[in-house]
């Protein structure tokens, strides 16, 4: 079973890896095609993404809106910076809670791994404080790192 790894790196990075049983092209499309994104980028059970804008070209807009059907919701906006089909995406994004969080700069790599794909997300936050806040409030994207476990405390 493909296991996700998630770790902090230095003071401002978060790195996530996950293997998929599909070729890089498919995983890449699932990250850029709004119809596909809406099917999986949902966070905890019960949330849906009624609005998904993903203009997969340099300077293209990103907008994801989530609701939980119980009156709660929030959205993420961002821009694509670089796209190399089907191997690499660089984009920035910020959460609106409702005030925008500082930009999270994300490089997503899709590397062929046998029959499948190794996905690697490398996030860069402006500073350590922002990273800690993002990990604390990264909710629906579930972006977290257990400082506790990662730094060998328990």
């Amino acid at each position: 079973m493909a296991k996700m790894t998630l770790k902090t790196e230095g003071d401002t990075h978060v790195v996530v890896t996950r293997r998929f049983a599909a070729p890089p092209e498919a995983v890449y499309r699932a990250h850029t095609d709004p119809k596909l994104i809406q099917q999986w980028l949902l966070g905890p059970e019960g949330w849906t993404m009624p609005v998904c804008i993903s203009e997969a070209h340099p300077n293209g807009r990103i907008r994801y809106e989530w609701i939980n059907g119980k009156g709660a919701g929030f959205h993420v906006t961002g821009e694509y910076l670089e796209l190399e089909p089907f191997s690499r995406i660089v984009h920035v994004e910020r959460m609106h809670l409702p005030d925008p969080t500082p930009d999270n700069h994300i490089e997503t790599r899709f590397d062929a791994d046998g029959e499948g794909t190794l996905l690697t997300l490398r996030m860069t936050l402006p500073d350590a404080e922002t990273r800690a806040k993002m990990l604390a409030t990264g909710m629906e994207r579930g972006m977290e790192a257990s400082y506790v476990r990662l730094e060998g405390m328990i």
Binding site: A2, M4, L6, D11, V16, R18, F20, A21, A22, P23, E25, A26, V27, R29, A30, L36, Q39, W40, L41, L42, G43, P44, E45, A128, E129, R131, A132, K133, L135, A136, G138, M139, E140, R141, G142, M143, E144, A145, S146, Y147, V148, R149, E151, G152, M153, I154
Partner: protein, 107 residues
């Protein structure tokens, strides 16, 4: 601020995270904690104060020393919260597995 906000704010500093990592190996005094860092004892003491206020460490009195150790009660809620968030991300990727399984290759 909520307890978690206070805790995460305390965790946002690399020195404080390093102090916690050291304390994971067992109790330590201010002098022992100051040694690996190029910091004065008062500077370390200030960091300890932040960690203590956030409920992440507790200190006891031992003669003139006040050794510190991790506060299990303060660490556990963070660990549970993070486990929940990790779960949400893992769930996204489990869903992506199904999405990929249903995609027809574009030929």
């Amino acid at each position: 601020m909520s307890t978690l906000d206070t805790a995460f704010s305390a965790l946002s500093d690399p020195t404080r995270r390093a102090i916690l990592a050291r304390l994971a190996q067992g109790e330590a005094t201010v002098m022992e904690l100051a040694k690996p860092f190029e910091m004065t004892q008062p500077a370390i003491s200030r960091h300890l104060k932040v960690l203590e206020t956030a409920g992440l460490i507790v200190r006891r009195v031992d003669g003139t020393k006040r050794p510190c150790r991790l506060a299990k009660a303060g660490i556990e809620p963070i660990d549970q919260w993070l486990a929940m968030l990790r779960e949400a991300l893992a769930k996204n990727y489990d869903r992506l597995d199904s999405v990929l399984a249903n995609m027809k290759p574009e030929k």
